[in-house]
């Protein structure tokens, strides 16, 4: 009996290790492939110049900018709503049918395929509003796409704060709202920030939800034009904006330039690097912030 258990133990350990190694292997192979394919494209010119229609040598400047701008706009809209809803779900929502219904809706929303959200965005934010393909429509579609995640992140982070913190604050006669803003949120901040950065990575790499909302073209941006309504201004939220991920898809499927493949490889490498940076950055920042809040000096 003893020996049998030992053999079982060994086998299980071996199998689980093998699976882990396999996963890591696949991950590194994928990363290595993408990076080596795109490596030679990673120069300043490629990152800043606009793409060309027919001849070789175009870059991804506007697309790269669009990806970041769209990310910022999306987070500006989604974060306040997500935080508010998360706080409500964690601290105020009574445990009843209505709350369970909201929770279910959030689950459903978060499991919708992003292409469906893109089509919903096309219908509501592009057609019904009459805005056409625009950054704003794209940002709203991405908000819908991201909101469930942000709500869950906030709610979980708040629930993970030890209940004794809340108890201590309320017992000092501090109001509930003040307890949330001054005790619970600071303690939950590392979790919220880490989660938000991870969500940002998702937004950054999203393509399907943007095809029919932010559009598949980008005007040639004039980077010293900062008026909000000029069609070539980078900051104009009502212009179409093809992002990096959408660009990769487009170049790969209908690119006409002789170096289309190269451009797609380079863009893919950049995308992977950005998403990796988001993930590693989130980990590092979350750990750092947690240390700072729980043990470092703070004022």
């Amino acid at each position: 009996m003893r020996i049998k258990a030992k053999i079982m133990d060994r086998t299980a350990t071996f199998l689980l290790t093998a699976i882990a190694v396999l996963i890591i292997g696949v991950l590194f192979a994928l990363l290595g492939f993408l990076l080596t394919q795109g490596w030679h494209k990673l120069n300043f010119d490629f990152l800043t110049s606009p793409p060309s229609i027919a001849e070789a040598g175009g870059g991804i400047g506007p697309q790269l900018f669009n990806s970041f701008y769209l990310l910022v706009l999306t987070m500006l809209i989604a974060l306040p709503i997500g935080l508010g809803a998360g706080i409500y779900m964690a601290e105020y929502a009574p445990d009843n049918r209505f709350t369970r219904f909201i929770r279910l809706s959030i689950e459903v929303l978060s499991s919708l395929p992003s292409i469906v959200i893109g089509l919903f965005g096309l219908l509501v934010f592009v057609t019904m509003t009459g805005w056409g393909y625009s950054i704003l429509s794209g940002a709203l579609a991405l908000t819908v796409f991201n909101l469930p995640l942000l709500v869950r992140i906030t709610e979980d982070a708040l629930r993970n704060v030890p209940p004794s913190q809340k108890e201590a604050s309320l017992a000092l006669g501090i109001s509930k709202w003040r307890t949330i803003t001054s005790v619970l949120l600071p303690a939950a901040l590392p979790g919220i920030i880490t989660g938000t950065i991870l969500a940002s990575g998702r937004v950054f790499g999203e393509a399907a939800a943007l095809l029919f909302t932010a559009g598949m073209t980008s005007p040639d941006l004039v980077f010293h034009d900062f008026s909000l309504n000029s069609p070539t201004s980078p900051l104009n939220p009502m212009r179409p904006a093809e992002t990096l991920a959408v660009h990769i898809w487009k170049v790969n499927s209908e690119g006409l330039t002789p170096d289309a493949r190269d451009v797609a490889d380079g863009a893919a490498a950049i995308l992977v690097i950005a998403v990796l940076a988001f993930n590693l950055g989130a980990r590092w920042f979350g750990t750092w912030l947690y240390r700072k809040i729980t043990s470092g000096t703070q004022r």
Binding site: D95, P162, S164, Q165, E167, A168, S169, L170, A171, L172, G173, I174, S175, R178, S182, V183, P186, A187, I293, T294, S295, G296, T297, Q298, R299
Partner: protein
């Protein structure tokens, strides 16, 4: 502050027919008790007899527990606590509470103490600094932390954290202190410090302390109340309760026959 005998003997807290239910389960059964001003009252009794429940009724912390229902009357200085007209924040400022496990905020030592007074209206920086120092001195912690006020409170030892929690409560300038087994998770030296502190603090505050340590109750309290299965069996001056208990069950408990 001068405390005359008359004042020292009068009643601050008076409960009548106080019962508490958790759902269907009754945790306190018609408790009538009077608690004297500027004295230490100890609650003793076996685990689960309702000591914490009674304590949490006094500052209405029971409200945080879903399905908890409190009936009967609690008067503090003649004012009914179980009334919707009572501002709960003001009540909890007057009736401060320290928990069994030290629970400092994830903030600096200074912020831990300044947080509540700032909320309750002390805005001036100099006033706050003075209040922080005064509270830490009263909690016998000042000398140990005065050079690291802006470091995290979580870096303190368990005993220091508990004294910080006491300082934090004192800083609100309450008139009543509720201590729920404040030393049960601490080493003997920290426990002794807390005990000395309690005796010291009764000059200014009315103190109610829950303890499982009968020697501790005997050492530091003026009055002792014995609870059993949700009922108050007996409350008397400490020396009297330990030497000549009126109830057989009290006698059995303090002589170690059960509990």
């Amino acid at each position: 502050m001068t405390v005359n005998i008359q004042q020292a003997q009068d009643t601050v807290i008076k409960t009548s027919d106080l019962s508490v239910f958790y759902g269907q389960k009754q945790a306190l059964n018609s408790v009538n008790m009077e608690i004297e001003r500027h004295a230490v009252t100890a609650f003793i009794g076996p685990s689960g007899c309702g000591k914490s429940t009674f304590l949490r009724s006094l500052n209405r912390m029971n409200e945080l527990i879903p399905n908890c229902r409190v009936t009967g009357s609690i008067q503090i200085d003649g004012i009914e606590v179980n009334s919707d007209a009572i501002p709960i924040e003001g009540l909890r400022q007057t009736v401060g509470m320290v928990f069994q496990r030290a629970n400092p905020f994830f903030k600096s030592i200074f912020e831990n103490i300044a947080f509540a007074p700032r909320f309750h209206g002390v805005k001036n920086k100099a006033d706050l600094e003075e209040l922080v120092e005064k509270s830490l001195r009263k909690a016998a912690l000042w000398d140990e932390v005065k050079d690291r006020l802006h470091e995290s409170a979580l870096a303190l030892s368990g005993g220091q954290q508990q004294r910080l929690c006491i300082a934090r409560t004192i800083a609100m300038q309450p008139s009543i202190l509720l201590l729920d087994e404040p030393a049960s998770a601490l080493d003997p030296i920290s426990t002794m410090k807390i005990e000395e502190l309690v005796v010291e603090l009764k000059q200014e505050y009315t103190i109610v302390i829950v303890t499982h340590n009968l020697h501790q109750a005997a050492r530091i309290s003026d009055h002792t109340a014995f609870f059993l299965m949700g009922e108050l069996i007996e409350k008397a001056p400490t020396s009297q309760l330990f030497t000549s208990p009126q109830d057989k069950r009290t006698e059995d408990y303090i002589s170690g026959k059960f509990g």
